[in-house]
C-alpha cells in the first residue's frame, strides 16, 4: 500500500517548528552563558549543568518534586481504582450520574485548582468549624509543610483520580463476563471475585501501566498548584522555599531575570526535566498495546 506521505507534512512541519527546533535551541542555550540583559551567547560547555548539580536549591527542588510526583500519583491511582470499582458495582442510573460528577475535576483549569484548594477557601471554613463551631480549640495549620504537601498532593489527586477511574472502568468492562459467571457458579463471594479476577486484571492491564507512566511524566512538570501555594505562603521572593518544585523554581528564576539570574541555568534544568519526559514517553510507547498497531 502506498503511504500518502504528503498527509504527514503539515504535522511534521509543526512538530519541527514547535517542538524539535525549540528543544534543540534550548539545548544549545543550556551550553552557553547567556542572559536577557546581555543576550550575546558564549559557549561554556556543561558549566550550567555543573553549576546546577552543585546547587543545594536545585536539589531541594528535586526532592520536593519527587515527593509531590510520587505522592500525588500514588494517591490518584488508589482513589481512582476505588472510584472505578464503586462505579462499576453501581446500577446504571447511579453510574451515569456519579461518573459525570466524578470527571468534573479533569475539566477544571489547574490554576483554578490552586485557588479551590487554597488555605483561604477550603480550610478557612473547616478551621472555623473546628475551632469555633465545635469548640475543639484546634485547627489545621496550612502553613506547616506536612499539611500543605499533603494538600497539594490531594488537590492533584482531586484532578486526576477520575482519569484512573475511567481507565479502571474500561478495564473492568473488558474482563469477559464468563469469568464472573464461572466464579458465581463456583459460589465465589464478591470479595473473592475482586481478589481473583478484577484486581489482577486491573494491575496487569497495559492501560493502567501506561496511565501511571503518563501521569508520572505529567506530574514532573506540575506547576500551577505549587505556584499558587507558593503565593499563599508568601514566599514567592526567596528561592528554595519549601514548595519549590523544579517548575516553580524555574519560574522564580525566570521571572527574576531583571536581576540577572542565570537564565541559561534554567534551560539546563528544563533539559534535565526533558530527559525524564522523553524516557517516560519511550516507556509509554513500548508498553501501550494500542499506539502502534
Amino acid at each position: 500500500m502506498r503511504v500518502p506521505y504528503i498527509f504527514l507534512v503539515p504535522s511534521l512541519l509543526i512538530i519541527f517548528l514547535a517542538l524539535v527546533g525549540p528543544v534543540f535551541q534550548s539545548f544549545l542555550l543550556s551550553l552557553s552563558e547567556f542572559s536577557l540583559v546581555n543576550p550575546s551567547q558564549t559557549p561554556v560547555g556543561f558549566q550550567n549543568y555543573i553549576g546546577l548539580l552543585s546547587d543545594s536549591i536545585f536539589w531541594r527542588a528535586i526532592q520536593v518534586t519527587l515527593l509531590l510526583v510520587f505522592g500525588s500519583v500514588f494517591i490518584e491511582f488508589i482513589v481512582g481504582i476505588f472510584l472505578g470499582l464503586l462505579i462499576t458495582s453501581s446500577g446504571p442510573k447511579a453510574r451515569t450520574w456519579f461518573s459525570s460528577i466524578f470527571v468534573i475535576p479533569i475539566a477544571v483549569a489547574p490554576i483554578v485548582t490552586g485557588v479551590l484548594w487554597s488555605p483561604n477557601s477550603f480550610f478557612d471554613d473547616l478551621n472555623t468549624l473546628l475551632y469555633y463551631g465545635l469548640s475543639l480549640g484546634t485547627y489545621i495549620d496550612t502553613s506547616k509543610p506536612f499539611t500543605y504537601y499533603s494538600i497539594i498532593m490531594l488537590s492533584d489527586a482531586w484532578i486526576w483520580a477520575p482519569l484512573f477511574m475511567l481507565v479502571t472502568v474500561a478495564v473492568i468492562r473488558s474482563i469477559p463476563k464468563e469469568q464472573f459467571e464461572a466464579a458465581d457458579v463456583m459460589g465465589a463471594s464478591s470479595f473473592t471475585k475482586f481478589q481473583k479476577i478484577t484486581f489482577p486484571a486491573i494491575l496487569a492491564s497495559p492501560a493502567i501501566v501506561v496511565t501511571l507512566l503518563l501521569r508520572t511524566a505529567d506530574a514532573f512538570r506540575m506547576f500551577e498548584v505549587p505556584y499558587s501555594w507558593n503565593f499563599w505562603l508568601g514566599q514567592d521572593a526567596e528561592l528554595g522555599a519549601p514548595v519549590d518544585t523544579v517548575s516553580v523554581l524555574m519560574w522564580k528564576m525566570f521571572s527574576s531575570t531583571l536581576y540577572d539570574f542565570p537564565i541559561a541555568q534554567i534551560t539546563a534544568m528544563a533539559i534535565l526535566l526533558l530527559v525524564v519526559t522523553l524516557t517516560t514517553c519511550a516507556l509509554v510507547l513500548r508498553r501501550s498495546s494500542s499506539l502502534m498497531d
Binding site: F7, I15, A18, F98, S100, A107, I111, V115, V167, L273
Partner: protein, 297 residues
C-alpha cells in the same frame, strides 16, 4: 433456609447503603471545593456563622473579610464588558484558531497513522507523545526569544501557534483512534474501488468520524482554555486569556500586578471553569482517550 435468605437480603441492602454512602461522599469530595469557590465568589463565608468573624490561621496571610451576606458584586465586576467578556473573546479566538490549524494538520496525519504502516510512524507517534508531555520550560526560552524578534509576542497568531503544542497531539491521536474504530474493511473496500486517499478521507473517513472530530475539537479547546503557563509568559495586555485573568485579575492591566481580593479570585475561577466543565461533560466518553492520546486503550 428462610432466616438465611433473610439475612442474605439484609446483607445485600446493607452493602447497597454502604455503596451509596461511598458514592455520595466521593461526590462531596469532588463538589465541595467547587461549591466553596462559587459561594466565596458571592462573598459568602460560613466562618462567621460560628464566630462572627473569619478565622485567620494561615500564617501571616491576609484573610478576606467574609460574611454570610450574599453579594453578587464580584461577579458583576468580573462580567463588565472590559473584564471577563473581553478575555473570553481572547481565549475563544486563540483556542478556536489553534484548534482549526491543528485539525487541518492533524486530520490527515491521524488518518495516515490509523491506516498505514510505514517507517517513521514510531517517530511521529513518539514526537506527538513528547509534545503532549513536555515541560513548557523546555521550549519556552526559544519561543520567548523568537517571538520577541518576530513581533509575535502577545499576538493571537503567536498564541494560536504555541497552543499547537497542546492541540496537535490531541487532534492527531484522537482522530487516529476514531479512524481505528471504523472497521478496516470499509477502507479496504474504498481502496479497491480506486479511491484516492484524500477522497477516502473526505467521503468515507471524515463523515464516519465526525462525532469523534467534534469530541476531539472540544477536548482540545478545553485544554487550550485551561492553559495557564504559556499564557503567563507569552500573553500581554492584548491577548490575555481567561485562565491567566483568573490569577492576575480579569480587568487589571498586566503591568500593574496587584494581589487580588480572595472573593475576586473565586468569582473569576467560577466563571473560568463553567464553560470548561460544560464542554467536558459533553465529551466525557472520550476524556481518557484525550488525556492519554489513546495510549491507555
Amino acid at each position: 433456609m428462610m432466616s438465611e435468605n433473610k439475612s442474605n437480603k439484609s446483607q445485600k441492602s446493607n452493602s447497597r447503603y454502604i455503596r451509596y454512602l461511598l458514592l455520595v461522599s466521593a461526590a462531596l469530595w469532588v463538589l465541595w471545593p467547587i461549591s466553596i469557590m462559587v459561594e466565596e465568589g458571592f462573598r459568602v463565608d460560613i466562618g462567621p456563622l460560628f464566630s462572627g468573624r473569619g478565622a485567620s490561621f494561615v500564617g501571616e496571610f491576609f484573610q478576606g473579610q467574609g460574611g454570610i451576606k450574599f453579594s453578587p458584586i464580584e461577579y458583576q465586576k468580573a462580567l463588565r464588558i472590559e473584564a471577563y467578556p473581553r478575555l473570553l473573546v481572547n481565549s475563544v479566538i486563540i483556542a478556536v484558531s489553534s484548534v482549526l490549524v491543528a485539525i487541518l494538520a492533524g486530520l490527515p496525519a491521524g488518518f495516515t497513522l490509523a491506516l498505514y504502516k510505514f517507517r517513521g510512524k514510531a517517530f511521529i507517534t513518539y514526537a506527538l507523545l513528547a509534545m503532549r508531555t513536555i515541560s513548557p520550560f523546555a521550549v519556552l526560552l526559544p519561543f520567548f526569544l523568537i517571538y520577541g524578534r518576530l513581533g509575535l509576542f502577545d499576538t493571537y497568531g503567536g498564541m494560536a501557534f504555541v497552543y499547537l503544542i497542546i492541540n496537535l497531539p490531541i487532534i492527531t491521536m484522537m482522530m487516529r483512534g476514531f479512524f481505528k474504530d471504523i472497521p478496516k474493511e470499509i477502507f479496504e473496500a474504498a481502496f479497491m474501488s480506486g479511491a484516492s486517499d484524500s477522497y477516502i478521507l473526505r467521503k468515507v473517513a471524515l463523515p464516519l468520524a465526525l462525532p469523534g472530530l467534534a469530541a476531539a475539537a472540544v477536548f482540545a479547546f478545553v485544554g487550550t482554555w485551561n492553559e495557564f503557563f504559556y499564557a503567563l509568559f507569552l500573553t500581554g495586555a492584548v491577548t490575555k486569556t481567561v485562565s491567566r485573568g483568573v490569577w492576575s485579575g480579569f480587568s487589571e492591566s498586566i503591568e500593574s500586578f496587584k494581589i487580588l481580593e480572595f472573593d475576586e479570585l473565586n468569582a473569576g475561577g467560577t466563571l473560568a471553569i463553567i464553560p470548561a466543565i460544560l464542554l467536558s461533560l459533553a465529551v466525557q466518553r472520550y476524556l481518557a482517550r484525550g488525556v492519554t492520546l489513546g495510549a491507555a486503550e
